[in-house]
């Protein structure tokens, strides 16, 4: 077994069949193809962290170092994490809720939660001695891998579907790595990367780095609990693409309890948000089905357009076991959701955030999310990344000549109101 004295990692374990593996850049169980997950020595972690030691740490995700699978002194750091958790009273009032909070992860270095997973993945890649970082991406991961690779001095190959939003292509290419646009959808890109990972000795963050990469999402749960005064919310709403984020946030709350940072066992209801044009997990939930049927995505929420979600089964299990719900929302509802969040809270989210807010609205209207619950909504990417979605409906209120008369003609405003 690899010797990793600076972490509390015991090894890797298959989530499907429980077989154990040494720490290495591997991601699937050789026996059943199930995903591998990092296994920790929780007693050792409990002995090494306290609320005080965390409070004394940096204002970034690295404050939770002992709960992460990498050595802090090798960290690739652009200042990711510890993003604002803001109370959203105006949004809550519109939806008939009373205690809603927004975890604003648009505030990360490349403006999405992907900076969390990439920080961990590329730190681990350096530990393993890789020279090249790579990924398959719907856009946000592309931005983040390109930026962190630049920071770490790694070469990068980023693979994206060719129909991606222009903003996401520009904000990837600017970092100087190779950007490879594939004629196909994300699932096609991903399959190519799974095959490339067998050919090249690269750190594919979402392929051979995946067990480590996925752990980065737990920090969203850690921060939420700490920012709520070491308490957990009653209900959370999380966007679902591969299903990894939702699964890991849930795991993060449980881990805080395991290592003694929470006073009581968390009972967080977890709800998942998908776009109607790509809703394999929500459909399985709504149909009460055990099998997730892959789909061909067709939605403006491209960052969630994964038709064959690798962690879909685990996400479904978490939603069902926690008593949460799921919804699939239309492209129109997504745009409405983006505008609702911007109008009520001053936060501009990308389409995935529109999916999440629209799902919050739907589940609140259906009584799944109740007014007496403290709700945390995860906004995972910035609206500037997907301007196309709102540009048809967001423009100047009026275009006028630079004269008082022209203004008065356009706007009938009572004096000093």
């Amino acid at each position: 077994m690899a010797h990793t004295p600076a972490t509390h990692v015991l090894g890797l374990r298959c989530r499907e069949c429980g077989r154990e593996y040494d720490v290495a850049p591997v991601y699937t169980c050789e026996w059943c193809f199930g995903p591998l997950e990092v296994a920790y020595d929780y007693e050792a972690i409990a002995a090494s962290v306290s609320r005080e030691s965390i409070a004394a740490g940096p204002l970034s995700l690295w404050r939770y170092g002992p709960l992460l699978p990498v050595e802090f002194d090798r960290a690739v750091d652009l200042g990711t994490g510890f993003t604002p958790l803001v109370k959203a009273d105006r949004l809550a009032a519109e939806l008939g809720l009373r205690d809603v909070w927004i975890k604003n992860d648009t505030r990360n270095p490349t403006n999405s939660f992907k900076d969390r997973v990439v920080s961990i993945a590329l730190s681990k890649a350096l530990e393993f001695g890789f020279k090249v970082a790579a990924c398959a991406s719907t856009g946000n991961l592309a931005n983040s891998v390109a930026a962190h690779a630049a920071r770490a001095g790694l070469r990068s190959y980023v693979f994206i579907p060719s129909n991606l939003e222009q903003g996401k292509i520009v904000t990837t290419a600017v970092y100087g790595g190779k950007v490879v646009a594939i004629s196909g959808n994300y699932d096609d890109v991903n399959r190519l990367c799974a095959e490339l990972a067998g050919v090249y000795e690269w750190a594919f963050v979402n392929v051979n780095m995946r067990p480590f990469y996925a752990e980065g999402s737990k920090t969203l749960a850690f921060e939420t609990a700490e920012q709520l005064g070491w308490e957990t919310p009653d209900h959370i709403v999380v966007p679902v693409a591969s299903g990894s984020l939702l699964t890991k946030i849930h795991k993060g709350f449980d881990e805080l309890y395991k290592v003694g940072l929470l006073d009581s066992r968390p009972a967080v209801r977890v709800s998942g948000a998908q776009a109607l044009g790509c809703s394999p997990v929500a459909q399985a939930y709504l149909d009460n089905a055990d099998t997730i049927r892959p789909v061909k995505p067709d939605t403006i929420a491209k960052s969630l357009a994964i038709g064959n979600p690798a962690d879909g089964y685990f996400a479904l299990d978490v939603v069902r076991a926690s008593g949460g719900g799921m919804a699939a929302v239309s492209d129109g509802e997504i745009v409405e959701g983006m505008r609702l969040l911007a109008r009520t809270e001053g936060i501009f989210a990308e389409t995935a955030g529109g999916v999440t807010v629209a799902t919050l609205r739907k589940l609140a209207a259906d009584g799944v999310i109740r007014p007496d619950e403290r709700v945390v909504v995860y906004i995972t990417g910035h609206g500037l990344k997907t301007l196309e979605a709102v540009s048809p409906t967001c423009g100047p209120t009026a275009t006028i000549a630079p004269t008082l008369d022209a203004f008065h003609e356009a706007f009938d405003i009572e004096e000093s109101s």
Partner: protein
């Protein structure tokens, strides 16, 4: 029908290191069974106890996921390629 099966790295210990194996079969399922005939061990890795494909095993025929076709009953044409690919996360 003669088809080529592309073997993922994780299973090449079973195929003696070969990345591609040529087999005969009328359907995707037949071809995968034939693979086990040639290199015993593939069946229990690809299929669960009930005989269904394991849920984290993805199988593609000529670049299309067989779940969009007729699953393991999808007919194969001479010279086509079947790929076995593990599921990967991301976004």
């Amino acid at each position: 029908m003669a088809v080529t099966v592309r073997i993922p790295t994780q299973l090449r210990t079973l195929s003696g290191g070969a990345a591609e194996v040529d087999v005969a079969g009328a359907t995707v399922g037949d071809a995968l069974k034939a693979l086990d005939g040639e290199y015993p061990g593939f069946n229990e890795r690809l299929f669960d106890d009930s005989g269904a494909l394991r849920r984290f095993v993805n199988v593609f025929l000529a670049e299309e996921d067989i779940r969009f076709l007729q699953g393991v009953d999808t007919p194969v044409a001479d010279g086509q390629t079947i790929s076995v690919v593990p599921a990967v996360a991301g976004g």
